[in-house]
Point group: C2
Chain length 482, copies 2
């Protein structure tokens, strides 16, 4: 029991008291991530990476269904490429990392902060006629943005992993339709796999992507009242096409500039999921996302030792499609093991001891609620299959209720500040002006618009902006954000 | 037919006449890869990336079976880390790329050329006791080596994709066993998925990895008489453990330095596969590796048009597990389509026209041999399943015969030079001295030792080095290499 004594593994911070410290402890102690010895960077440990791989697998199936092909473009981008599209250059220039190695006659190279420019240069050579369209390419890659704010595991770092989809269409309407389609795929991913409800919306002009006509977003709502942008989908219009000389010969035998979109989500999604679901015992993973859905802990006494281990092994075999862990380590008490697997977020724990064996039953404990029940070993597979569905739905419902309860209409500045101070998200009527939005951010030390909710975009006729009092254009959600 | 006329898509170079130009054309025209507008870099296009994903899927299954976990470490490595292990620093320093961004008081950052140092720094914090071992972690990542020689698609570039496994063991014998084990997994991958025979061997001291006790390698043999290293597995000894302060408390309650290994293969494997199998019509893909194993080309006339398209669709449905492509594009002749899919290496083509439909049959054409046969549509699924196995085996056998026939024993310098000039691989008795090997390389303008073949390592008693005449230590293969 030496190990047991030396390690106090549990969390010492409480989610409701100090969410930043709690979050950092959950990530470190559950071993999903670790800080790196390089400023601004972090390490995705095996448990974190297995979660990322499950997200990738889910989304790769979706890409295949949508006829999007994966590809890989260079990490390095020539400086001149950034300057071809002015808004894009301006948006990214403060946070670009550059390579020191330079050869005579060669220009400076950036490390990709995003790949529009390097990809669209190729597109200009690959696209010739309407037969080549739509072109739909996705890239899984690391990107670098030279952040100066403090590093937050998964949430803010100089390097992160992401996917970036880059599509080209003949017409604006096709482009619009698919910008929306991939946003909906993000919503499905968040809700179905991560049990994370999201709001679909459009960014205000102030918050849209550098170089986009408009940006759609999915926003998740965190327990501390902050929103977290988990995916965006941009209609880039014809601006990059013009800048990079992309054109196609139409069915009309004339040359046209195509319409383009780009869309992405990153490892930040993992951070959002952890913030949303985890508790003071550690990580809580939605069962469909969890790499190991079950841990089997045999309760070993001298009596019936071999029989219990054999039964545990048999259960593992039966549940093999759920990648169960069997924890038969010696020198650790059952209680210590329970704590460890709770810390690591395994959705279901199966305990089996001598009495259970005699009664042909086992104890099943659900990670999110702590609910315990005796189950018949003979029925264990259908029970786990059913419980996975139930737990996944319950986790989503709980988060959805919190999100819905947290959206509060604020008719004026006073109620707006009170809503935001109470860790809620304010729905307001807003003029849509960037200047007005700048003032709001300054006055509140950082409250920003999240989005204009899709399907509920127009402010009521005659309504006034909650801040400046001018005629309101949109319904907009505002909150603090990660 | 405008498109048909404007594009001469076929290869203009011949494999047997100008393999370098032929190889470049195969890669570009089949659209597996493209040159990038950044010196030393290239683009992996969707067909190339789908091949890489199939390789990843195969190897991820193997990693799971071997209890190796995937993780992700930062792209950036602090300069001081390189200098902790002297041989490693010396080996990599000429080809490291550096970041220009630098903050006060922070050291210079390299872009990873390989991740030993950044990973082992973490290992020193993660490993405490024998209970933490073996630790087996793999990373899929991009790496950068600032090459100055000309770029060759997949084969030599400044950035490439790879996997790097990094394991830690209590004992030397465990480490030795798994260094060999992962080499065998590389052999399995190459032979079973890529139909590429390889030689397993140990590198001479001159050619081993910077910082390793010894390096094992799998070497493939190309049609132009050059070898190509497709994977290496290193026993790093305790050198990195000492340099990075990795230690563990043993069962004996004493502190020990563990043994470490690292092993990797890269996207170069794709280049080797293309060089080996492809022909003057374009890409030839082993069917188990091919993303789309079948292309269905309906031969459309006005007569029975709808029936033929319906049958083609029905066949696609039946063969869905092989991801068949259906080419029902209008405005392209069947012949043009056949050429296109041959260029892209689809293993099996199914043609179906009015006469076939009446006879309830189709024509099946095998990509590697061009062999045509009529098959009953009712039996199409088992036939394709069987043909995949046959073609995969035939491709391997053909390559194996070429490799075996190309290994020729050379007893002295004269026969050695003649063997190498005749595009074969020379097997020699060799002294093992780095100085002697340097001279051989100089005299031949680049012929290098490939490996000491496993299982046939010791030179016969009393034999002399084919070059210097001193006492021979090993049997060694020599050839030119990519």
């Amino acid at each position: 029991m030496a190990k047991e004594k030396e390690n106090v593994k549990g969390l010492t911070a409480k989610k409701e008291q100090d969410i930043a410290e709690w979050y950092s402890q959950v990530c470190l102690k559950s071993e999903v991530a670790d800080y790196a010895p390089v400023k601004g960077c972090y390490i995705i440990r095996p448990l974190g990476y297995a979660i990322w791989q499950n997200i990738q697998d889910h989304f790769n199936r979706c890409l295949k269904y949508r006829d999007v092909k994966n590809a890989y473009f260079p990490l390095f981008i020539p400086e001149s490429f950034f300057h071809k599209e002015a808004q894009h250059a301006e948006g990214f220039s403060p946070e670009v990392a550059w390579i020191a190695n330079k050869e005579e006659g060669q220009e400076r190279l950036a490390i990709r902060p995003t790949s529009e420019t390097i990809m669209y240069d190729s597109y200009s050579r690959w696209i010739r006629s309407w037969r080549d369209l739509p072109l739909r390419i996705n890239q899984w890659a690391n990107v670098v943005r030279w952040e100066t704010e403090a590093t937050k595991l998964f949430l803010r770092s100089r390097e992160f992993l992401w996917q970036e989809g880059h599509c080209v269409y003949e017409t604006e309407s096709e482009c619009d339709a698919e910008v929306k389609l991939f946003l909906e795929e993000y919503k499905n991913l968040a809700e179905e796999l991560l049990a994370m409800p999201v709001i679909m919306g459009r960014k205000t002009d102030k918050e849209k992507f550098a170089g986009a006509n408009y940006t759609l977003t999915v926003e998740a709502f965190m327990p501390d009242g902050k929103a977290l942008q988990v995916g965006t989908s941009h209609n880039l219009g014809q601006r990059f096409g013009q800048a990079f000389g992309i054109s196609f010969l139409g069915k009309d035998e004339l040359s046209h500039t195509p319409w383009q979109s780009s869309w992405g989500f990153s490892t930040r999604l993992i951070g959002a999921m952890i913030l949303l679901h985890s508790d003071n015992k550690g990580l809580v993973l939605p069962p469909k996302l969890a790499p190991n859905k079950v841990v089997i802990v045999p309760i070993i006494f001298d009596k019936m030792r071999d029989e219990i281990l054999a039964k545990a092994d048999e259960i593992r075999e039966v549940l093999s499609e759920y990648d169960p862990i069997i924890d038969d380590r010696e020198g650790y008490s059952p209680g210590w093991k329970f704590n460890e697997w709770e810390l690591k977020g395994v959705p279901f724990r199966i305990e089996i001891g001598p009495k259970d064996l005699e009664a042909k039953q086992a104890v099943m404990v659900r990670r999110d609620t702590g609910e315990k029940q005796f189950i018949k070993i003979a029925d264990i597979k259908p029970i786990i299959a059913e419980q996975i569905e139930i737990m996944q739905k319950d986790m989503f419902k709980k988060a959805k209720k919190h999100m819905d309860d947290s959206i509060v209409f604020a008719k004026d500045w006073e109620s707006f500040t009170s809503v935001v101070e109470n860790k809620k998200m304010a729905k307001v009527h807003f003029c849509g002006e960037t200047g007005c939005e700048d003032e709001i951010k300054d006055k509140t030390a950082g409250v920003k618009s999240r989005c204009i909710p899709l399907g509920d975009e127009a402010a009521p006729d005659g309504s006034k902006c909650f801040h400046c009092g001018k005629s309101a254009k949109y319904n907009v959600y505002f909150s603090r954000a990660y």
